[in-house]
Point group: D3
Chain length 238, copies 6
């Protein structure tokens, strides 16, 4: 991935302070409205997730390949990926939206946590949902299911562009997750979205303050010229 | 709405003590079995909602109308509705059951709370789900999604009869919500349902007491003649 | 049910310590991969459920049979089943996966609890979801809905093989439930699964300990010959 | 089934001339609005089906019972049912709405045709869809699928009340099917529905004639007093 | 509707020669990608539909309003709309995507045909599907169902903007349908789309001719500069 | 693909005479029950398809990559695949089961036909469905939709293992399609399935003949020892 655009040093820390709702809105300014991994939630409510995407791709299981009862940690794409995803990155699984078995369990999630991985997003289910929710590493999924991944998935490869929850994920894209779901920020937009996101969060705090104080949304949300001037004074006064 | 049937003063307070399960049962006595807004839950578990319906209707977004990046608080049907829904009423949104973006966000919900609105029901998703759950105003929805409403919806009009979660909602109908979902009480039935609901809740408390004490359901649920007599004594003894 | 294979005395207590994820894996060793009641969760997160299945079957409601407003506790299959399911067993309802009304309410659940029933699994919804979650008896369902069961179901019979959440359930099968869902252990496999499950849980605790201590999954999960020897020493040392 | 209400001799012949749309309307007069087997169509467009229901029930397959590769014609509920359904009756299968394999194939359908069975309704798929469509016996299903029934179904029993496509089917109910789908007429209503259906079809032919001649629907559909008088003259003049 | 933008005289005739696939592509040039009424097909394969939209809106039925067994042709919104939709226009029904009953039957469709209506689009089902398919007027729907519309729908109003199959339809928009489905052309784009559509169809005929003659898609689809020059000669030579 | 197991010369011709129902049954003998591309049908009913799989993979579209209005035949994975799929092979598209736009249109299908491609299977929709159905090349899809593929898909790569309709497809697997759907025969099983398929089809013709002549299924389907002997005589006598 040496040919990826570099991220500014402050981009990931900044995105940690920006909600997925704000990011989704900012992406529309770049023409992107299909950026959300549909229907995923953190196993532990309140968890936040930020990091670069490391992709893993499942295809449907084939009984003679996947129902053998054995696993080869050196050949199985899921197992290899788990040992290779770099610390600080997010393992994003293309589970094809299928929640009829688990795509990850607590033991492998514990290993990912130990390795310093930033978190996991899967558009499938996870098994050991409660244990995974108790880890210090955020895992976003669509459901809980006790089954093992080999029952319905064949781990095929990693490091390729994938789809996850109806959105394209390219290796190196930046993933942000919170209670509203997870959003994929194309890598070339990440620095800009981080800068704009911090500003937009600040402005929305100002707006919410005014709304709580009884202002109508008219003139306040969005801010009109007068409101913007007021905001600039508020901002410089902090 | 001056031509609406008046509600008895005690109707809304009484309905605050009646569960949606009880109301749903009472409505079947009037021949109504399609009264439930399917699949909605309060953002904050445990929240209860009671109030008259103020309706807002979305149709699918059209890119040249809705993907403009601007919003006119004086023309946009959602924004106008938010400033007009009377205090104590419930904003009911026909989001056509589509949860692929949010139909309401925290800033507008905060404004609704300030204005004294009783709560919100939408058959779509909301964004800023956690912030909305932290408000003092109950919001019932089908899911969380970080997207803004303009991505998939065009706010069309308000104050018209709508569908929400598979049930007809006429302006002035009474909405009641709890952890089981939300139910629509046609306005002309609200006074009766409130009276009957208080009585039925009382009777069910009596029944549950008996069941907890070891009575079989036979004779107790429903009460037979003997049980009813016992209930009348219990009631008068309180 | 006198002709059912006997369960070893320690089988149910043992299964209480085994997760549904482990059981699902063990069943694949017997060729079974369709053992999970899809999409059910405990009303009270964290609840665990173990017991033999007592089956109840719903078919779709017919208005002239089910929308009468009366109930005969001595003829209605649901009501009779509730008084007959033996203490310690699990009432498993075939609600045909339909969540458009409740298949059980708090009063009947309270009666089941009093009677010492081990718990309930339904592939439909329940009403009074919060009250049911507050009981001491675990209830697994797919959703909450305030409607009564007669609105969409006709309780037909009990004690027959049924389908529930896409899996066959024969009377006397052993049901185990936790936060990941519920799994059906065919009766003739229950003793073996219990024995193997206890061992597999112990081994996984050993593995997780090693993973937490920094071991790679290679050699550890699954254990290679060296790891197995280490495990045997660990086990005998406890 | 000796205790079933007798059908008038002319009931089934009469129902052969009545559309499912007409029957569905007539059933609403008896309070029944859930009478339609949802989503089924004849394998051969234009086919009509009339007969008493003989029910067959599938539950989900279990691998050790159903994936054995052998079949016992004397024990398998589907196979036994196929040899027992009386000539002139309709085999109605409760396939639980699952179309991920076929619930009937051409060889068994050929046997049913030879035995003089009136037809088949399944809320699952069929295999050999084209061959089945070429038979002289109408088969109504939801989809085509090449898989055998044992892949997903366990044939459990026959002759019991079942659900099919969301509607209750009791043995002896009368099934009518055409291009719009299939409808279940409760046995105790069949004679009345047949009589009323013939009359309603005639009246609708009169109405369509008038509509084709340019009459407004006002006064014609439904007929007002004048229209009814005209209809009576038209009827007696034929 | 006197304030609608006028359509050029040749617009509708031109659109009759343009496929929905071509129109969908042309609309993307105006930024519109949500223009297709999802999942509808003509009752009679091969039918084509062109005309201005006249909208009709259904909300969910309420039993006390809609299950009365009577119909008032002068008050029921569906019935009134059927007598008012102008000749040459298309009746577009917002049936909320619900196919669990019919939204139109053969008698009313026959009346629409007599009145010279251009056709019908509904995102629900129709009853009497075969008879409707035999009319000379194209009807596009999602499924067949024998039930009457009042079972699930309450006809609410007409002439308002609606949603149909996931797309906004404003009165006066131009509807085009063929075997691929139906597409909604916003009125202000209709003249342009008609002109461009005729040209694009011609160009695609040229391209298909070349492809059939063995040309690679490279240079041909899309046409490069040389191909375009060739096309211009071909066009002028006709 | 030079390292693929060779297919016997007679394998593909033999499979042309074997139904997907027969193949699906034969695959279960090898332990494979997930071999069917769910829900696809030929655009032209009656079409049969046989050939080796050439795979094409779509991921979800991203607006800045795919909504540009331009296409590069030398870089776009779909376009390149169309010029590279070898004559006699089947283009199998992983459209992720999404039917909200077309995954192939008539011009590209015409090019594939010219190039001698055996056919196409997509688990998405196609546009120009009627024109594609009129080609001499079989195309199997899940639905018709007028939209272009770039609206929802990003053609990512070709020649990799994919999922299609819930089943794994490896390049070189053999695809067979008929009116029941399409089935994927893993390459290493193709020769055996072809041989066994021809025999099984012959045996089923014998069985159907006997069933048509009035034999019970008992002893005939499956054949008992006597029936098998009779079959062997019948076979040798032809």
């Amino acid at each position: 991935m040496s040919d990826l655009l570099p991220l500014a040093e402050e981009t990931l820390p900044a995105l940690r302070t920006v909600s997925t709702a704000t990011i989704t809105t900012l992406l529309t300014r770049h023409g992107l409205r299909r950026a959300v991994v549909a229907g995923v939630r953190p196993c532990a409510p309140g968890d936040r997730l930020v990091g670069e995407a490391f992709t893993l791709r499942y295809i449907p299981a084939r009984e003679d390949l996947d129902w053998t009862g054995t696993i080869d940690n050196l050949a199985d794409a899921q197992r290899v990926a788990i040992e290779r995803v770099p610390p600080g990155q997010v393992l994003v699984m293309d589970a094809r939206g299928d929640i009829s078995s688990g795509s990850l369990g607590a033991i492998l999630a514990t290993r990912l946590q130990f390795r310093g991985v930033a978190g996991v997003v899967t558009d499938g289910a996870v098994r050991d949902h409660a244990e995974i929710g108790a880890l210090q590493m955020p895992v976003f999924c669509r459901a809980a299911h006790p089954g093992a991944n080999k029952i319905i998935y064949h781990p095929q490869d990693f490091g390729l562009p994938i789809g996850c929850g109806g959105v394209a994920v390219f290796p190196g894209d930046v993933i942000v997750g919170d209670d509203d779901g997870a959003v994929v920020v194309p890598r070339h937009l990440a620095n800009q979205v981080a800068v704009d996101g911090v500003e937009m969060e600040r402005r929305e705090r100002f707006i919410v303050e005014r709304i709580r104080a009884g202002r109508s949304i008219v003139g306040t949300y969005p801010l009109n010229a007068e409101g913007l001037a007021e905001y600039e004074r508020w901002k410089s006064g902090r």
